[in-house]
């Protein structure tokens, strides 16, 4: 069963004199457990597409259904709550809260969900261990490397038990060793726990790991290819 269904999705920006069709009639669907990369040159519309899927932006036309819910029809308040409980985000610049430790950054999202302290504690420790940071629980972001920060971001994205994780160019600021490490962790989570990952990227290393590659250009999907596992 598809967890995401996108139909005739369009996003048109009318800010300038000429309307810009950032996403121009996209039809896509994603199943549980996919490890998919959306690729394309800068300005092709991949980030806009990801923002639309994540409910961070509102479509001009078309629909996005997540587990049967048309997120375009949700009120702003319900949409925020929907994101909290259904979608995990990993950002290019990690975007951790600098005044909180790795532990607190991961725990924070569960406190927003209203989990009690004991539940938060056990899950936070478990998640940070699963991304290889069991010994860095009390480190603040400025004491962590870029790769470690991005792994905390992945743990944070997983903390709310989302239906899928959207990662916007997650390796863009990482060196090759950190990239490889991060990808291995995400791939492991995907294979062992059936967690769905959707990336936007132009990093070939990410594309090489992906089992589905969606090529976007001028706001349209020009190819959608399933890659056989080696």
């Amino acid at each position: 069963m598809n967890i995401i269904e996108i139909k005739d999705l369009k996003k048109i920006y009318n800010d300038s004199e000429v309307a810009v069709h950032a996403v121009n009639g996209v039809d896509l669907s994603f199943k549980q457990g996919e490890f998919a990369a959306i690729v394309g040159p800068s300005g092709s519309g991949k980030t806009t597409l990801l923002n639309l899927i994540g409910g961070l932006d509102v479509p001009s036309e078309g629909s996005i259904r997540i587990d049967g819910v048309n997120i375009g029809e949700l009120s702003s308040r319900k949409l925020i709550n929907f994101r909290l409980n259904n979608i995990g985000f990993v950002f290019q610049s990690y975007n951790l809260i600098p005044v909180l430790t790795a532990y607190e950054n991961v725990e924070f999202i569960m406190s927003l969900q209203g989990y009690d302290k004991d539940k938060r504690h056990s899950r936070t420790v478990e998640l940070l261990k699963s991304v290889g940071l069991g010994d860095r629980l009390n480190s603040r972001p400025n004491k962590l490397s870029g790769g470690e920060q991005q792994r905390v971001a992945v743990a944070r994205a997983l903390a709310s038990k989302p239906k899928f994780i959207l990662a916007d160019e997650p390796t863009a600021n990482l060196d090759s060793k950190s990239t490889s490490n991060l990808l291995d962790i995400m791939e492991k989570l995907n294979r062992e726990e059936n967690i769905t990952f959707i990336f936007s990227t132009h990093d070939q290393r990410v594309v090489n790991k992906a089992r589905r590659v969606i090529q976007v250009e001028d706001g349209k999907v020009i190819s959608d290819e399933a890659i056989q596992s080696p």
Binding site: T47, N51, G54, L56, D57, R77, I80, N81, R83, L84, N85, F89, F91, Q92, S93, N95, I97, P98, V99, L100, E104, E107, F108, I109, S111, L112, R156, S160, D168
Partner: protein, 408 residues
Amino acid sequence: MIWIIAWKNIWRNKVRSLVIILAITLGLFGGVFSSAVMKGMVEQRIKEAVSRETAHIQIHNPKYIDNNEVQYTIDGEAQNLEQTLDSLPEVKGWSSRIKFQAMANSANAGTGVMIYGVDPEKERQVTEISAMICDSCGTYLNGEKKNQIVVGEALAEKLKVRLRSKIVLTFQDQEGTLTGAAFRICGIYRTSNSVFDEMNVFVRKTDIASLLIMNAQEYQELVVRLSEPDQVTDVQEELTDGFPELLVRNWKEIDPMIGMMADLTAVWLYMFMAIILLALGFGIINTMLMTILERTRELGMLAAIGMNKHRIFLMIMLESVYLSLTGAIVGMALGYFLTLYTSYTGINLSSFAEGFEKIGYNPIMYPYLDLNFFITLTIMVICIGILASIYPARKALKLNPAEAVRSE
């Protein structure tokens, strides 16, 4: 957890936060101490006016207040009134006075005065004039000698008289006949109100009653001193109900200037602090706006991962309140300790004594503030913190998470 994050957030940029905290600290410190000095001055003036001039309650024949003539006395009800006052536990003391205007003349000068014919022992329980006579300035109507008078230092200077000098008092008796007598100065008092000192003299009631052709049981004024100032309204009501034909007034009604000053000071102090806080509020807004600008990406991330607007607003509001309260608590504490210290030592402005005494103020001030002031001030600080957060928080809530997370 939002409470903890907000607290940690204000220490991200320590220098910037400390600058605004220091500004709030200094503003509140100055405001609190200035308020304490003002409040202390006014409280002191009220206390001195009550203890030396008006007492807590005065009772008159209503016609005496209208006409100021000696024949309008409290006579028929005097015995009942005195018995009632003796039975009231709130009453610390009372004194009946013969009170009238006269001319006082020395060999050198003359002036109009208000004569108080008193029973010295009773009067000591009500006013502190007897304590205002220095060791070398005589005594307060002691001994058996007749026709003694206690005058204020300002009057003595005006009449160019000294201790044991004679002055002649001229006045009309109850029948309207001009009469007078010579009195010898047995004591010279000095209060912090030189105008009062220049106007009021004290003699024995028994000496003056016969000159006025008055019955010894008659008098124009009865002054009452209570154990606690806040019992005034209750006792006044009780006496008014018991003696409806007499005029029972409290100290605020007797001296409306002092009464108005007491009421206005309370309002003015809060207005004064509100102005200081308002000015500081703009500083807080500026600091919070810079904070929001610097954290655009993070605020976008928080909105993206599902932190709702209510929580984002709460976080920013808490940061603003923490900034305000931190500075305010330190400022209030410093103001409180300086007030406490100077309330024991006093602030000596004797070099301006003449000016102060002419308007009835003691040149040695004892700053004073009560707990209610600090409680109200803390609430005001929290309100300013909340108000100052509204504009920056609205800016934060208007951020588009998709754009904000990618901002530089």
